[in-house]
């Protein structure tokens, strides 16, 4: 279009309906564009990554070497999926075997603030060195600020072998 022609048009004030249509369109379009950007951005940032092949069990210990009744700290290699990185890392667990061959594997962090606790032989308790939380041999909180019992790994027993899986979130 030739702007010179435009300049000959009389400069009329916008009619109120026209003006309000313009304003409505501006707000509407900007809101729509904003939503079209904000919603995917929210999903992108807040949705967890699609499930990858995690939750595999790794063989962690020979059960015949674990004493009955006394927790044993075992270490094992497992695969960790950390964003775009897949790494093999050393992990540890406190394993308790009962007389009837039931096995529990506790995650090695105190449920209070994540310090590494240890087994205190004289008191027969798990004791956290940070804020003196104490847990019984079956993971229950005995004293201290810990808000919940010790976290457990899922376990599978195959013959004499103990396989450790991901954290048991249903416990």
């Amino acid at each position: 279009m030739d702007p010179e022609n435009l300049s000959h048009e009389p400069a009329v004030e916008l009619s109120p309906t026209r003006r309000s249509f313009y304003i409505k369109f501006i707000y509407g379009a900007m809101t729509a564009i904003g939503a079209a950007l904000a919603v995917p951005a929210g999903i992108y940032l807040l949705f967890p990554p699609k499930a990858r092949k995690e939750g595999d069990y790794v063989e962690a210990a020979d059960l015949s070497r674990i004493p009955v009744g006394t927790p044993e700290e075992i270490s094992f290699q497992r695969t960790r999926i950390d964003g775009w990185k897949v790494t093999s890392e050393k992990a540890t667990a406190w394993v308790v075997k009962t007389a009837d061959n039931q096995v529990t594997a506790f995650a090695p962090q105190c449920t209070h603030l994540g310090c590494a606790y240890h087994w205190d032989q004289p008191t027969n308790n798990f004791v956290c060195p940070c804020h003196t939380s104490a847990f019984s041999v079956d993971g229950k909180v005995l004293s201290g600020p810990a808000p919940r019992p010790l976290d457990k790994y899922m376990v599978k027993i195959q013959g004499n072998k103990l396989a450790i899986g991901p954290l048991d979130t249903h416990a």
Binding site: E4, L14, K85
Partner: protein
């Protein structure tokens, strides 16, 4: 709400600032042709927004960057869209910037007193190109790597400054962590704030001199808001719709991880640089720097100085014949060179795949070998043969002596270990001969490189292959080179058939393939599932 606005206004004067901005007087002749500038600003905002989102999940180092981009597009919900917006947004931003410039050029809006506005605009065009150039490397696939190799070499050809420029880009011919870090720093640290500052100056200058009125426009001036803002919004919305559609419909390629030893890859720059790439072909030997650096440099200089070259008074659009002819000539030259570059580009052998699935080592196993992996697992071989370069109770199977690397030694050893290896504490493996053959076939495949991948084969594949073997499918079909060719080879069958087709085919082969001589197979649902899943993932032959 009203009170908050009032409080804010009293403390900051923000409302007055916004009102001054919106109710600025503009010439009556302003209109649709002036919306492109707003669109350019908007496209920059989109790039900043999506760029920040990408950076939240991006590892700015070679190698890791590739993995993180792959992670963004395959693992994160919406990641493909965000990357698409950023990728196509870059192209669209450049198109808009060039169109904006073209409009200003054709209208002669760079003339006194608006020379500085134009010159800042030229710098913004160069920065936009700089964004494209530096961003191109960041996914670190073959396309990125090889494209940037060429770019840095070209920079190195510049007279006098060449070697310094190459060193500044961390290249000097080789591209590695240093070049990557510099490109990343330019792309996210230096160029964005520079662009913001220059856009600020640009817009300030536009406001200072006012929008260029048409020749003889003496009509009463109008307000910027809401009519012109409405027109700008229409333009912005249109641009955004195109971008959004592209991001959803068109896949952004992510090729293979950058491989400096790949001699088959044909490097090409991004489409808007293709004309420069093609120009280079006309200059040989010592003249090359003329085509790569001198000519583009002169062209930029000419563009920069246009307001001083064309100093005549503003005339109406219809009389700017020379400007139109010049723009048309430039457009024809650009299109011709770009088309020539595209037509002479051989198709890369590397599939520009968006699926980005790399073939896993276990997918290349034959069915008997996969079945062998099943036995390997059931017999708990790994308990003693721990692998990963270590010796457990038994030796590392990837490091076996050459003399033992055959089924003739291995199968008897499975049956009576201590007879073949005196003193061995390995218990006899209680399997049938065919099963032992499968087990040995698998063990013979193990190497230190593929061990982890082979052992990670999913259960469905192992089970599917075991069913395949138990039903002697290999008597007619071939997978990964093993089996007969009475029936069709099953390599890549998942690209030809879907799940429903395969299931129906097992139940009643003739219903899907008339004339087939294959007998029907009845599988338990769980077996069928494993079988079909196994078949669907089979890679294409060769």
């Amino acid at each position: 709400m009203h009170k908050i606005v009032e409080w804010l206004e009293h403390r900051t004067g923000i409302q007055t600032v916004i009102k001054d901005f919106l109710y600025e007087d503009i010439p009556a002749s302003s209109g649709w042709h002036q919306v492109i500038g707003s669109m350019a600003v908007f496209s920059f905002i989109i790039q900043v927004f999506t760029g920040i989102l990408l950076a939240f999940n991006y590892a700015p180092t070679p190698g890791d960057s590739y993995l993180s981009v792959k992670y963004i597009v395959t693992e994160l919900t919406g990641g493909r869209l965000i990357r698409g917006l950023h990728h196509w947004g870059a192209s669209i931003m450049l198109i808009i910037v060039v169109l904006h410039m073209l409009q200003v050029f054709l209208y002669g809006a760079y003339k006194k007193p608006r020379e500085a506005t134009w010159m800042v605009g030229v710098v913004l065009l160069l920065i936009t190109l700089g964004f494209g150039l530096t961003g191109y490397l960041l996914p670190w696939d073959n396309r990125a790597y090889w494209g940037t190799v060429v770019t840095t070499q070209i920079a190195g050809q510049a007279p006098i400054a060449g070697p310094y420029l190459a060193r500044l880009l961390g290249g000097e011919g080789r591209i590695g962590v240093v070049t990557f870090a510099r490109f990343y720093a330019l792309h996210v640290l230096l160029l964005p704030p520079l662009t913001m500052i220059l856009i600020g100056i640009h817009v300030y200058l536009v406001r200072k001199h006012g929008v260029t009125p048409a020749v003889g426009d003496t009509a009463p001036r109008r307000k910027f808001f809401p009519e012109q803002v409405f027109k700008d919004t229409v333009g912005v919305t249109l641009g955004f719709l195109i971008l959004f559609t592209l991001a959803i419909v068109a896949d952004v390629p992510l090729g293979k991880l950058a491989d400096p030893t790949d001699t088959n890859y044909v490097p090409r720059p991004e489409w808007y640089f293709l004309f420069l790439f093609q120009t280079l072909k006309f200059f040989k030997g010592p003249m090359e720097a003329v085509g790569s650096v001198v000519l583009p440099g002169l062209a930029v200089l000419a563009l920069f100085l246009i307001p001083f070259i064309d100093r005549g008074p503003l005339v109406r659009l219809g009389k700017r014949t020379f400007a139109f002819a010049f723009a048309a000539l430039a457009a024809i030259a650009w299109s011709g060179l770009t088309a020539a570059a595209i037509s002479t580009t051989p198709k890369n052998t590397e599939a520009a795949d968006s699926a980005v699935e790399e073939l896993q080592a276990w997918q290349q196993l034959t069915p008997p070998e996969l079945e062998g992996l099943g036995h390997f697992r059931k017999e708990n071989c790994k308990t003693c043969h721990v692998g990963a370069g270590k010796r457990g109770i038994g030796p590392d199977l990837t490091q076996m002596a050459a003399a033992h690397r055959n089924a003739g030694w291995m199968v008897p050893h499975f049956k009576r270990p201590s007879q073949i290896v005196p003193g061995s504490s390995m218990p006899p493996v209680q399997l049938t001969d065919p099963q032992l053959n499968a087990l040995s076939a698998f063990v013979l495949k193990l190497t230190p490189q593929n061990e982890a991948s082979l052992l990670s084969a999913p259960d469905f594949a192992v089970q599917g292959a075991s069913i395949y073997e138990a039903n002697h499918c290999g008597a007619c079909h071939q997978i990964n080179g093993a089996g007969m060719k009475m029936g069709p080879a099953l390599d890549g069958v998942g690209q030809r058939r879907d799940r429903a087709w395969l299931e129906q085919h097992f139940v009643d082969p003739k219903s899907t393939s008339p004339g087939s001589i294959m007998p029907p197979y009845k599988f338990e649902p769980q077996e069928m599932d494993a079988m079909v899943k196994y078949l669907l993932q089979l890679p294409k032959a060769g």
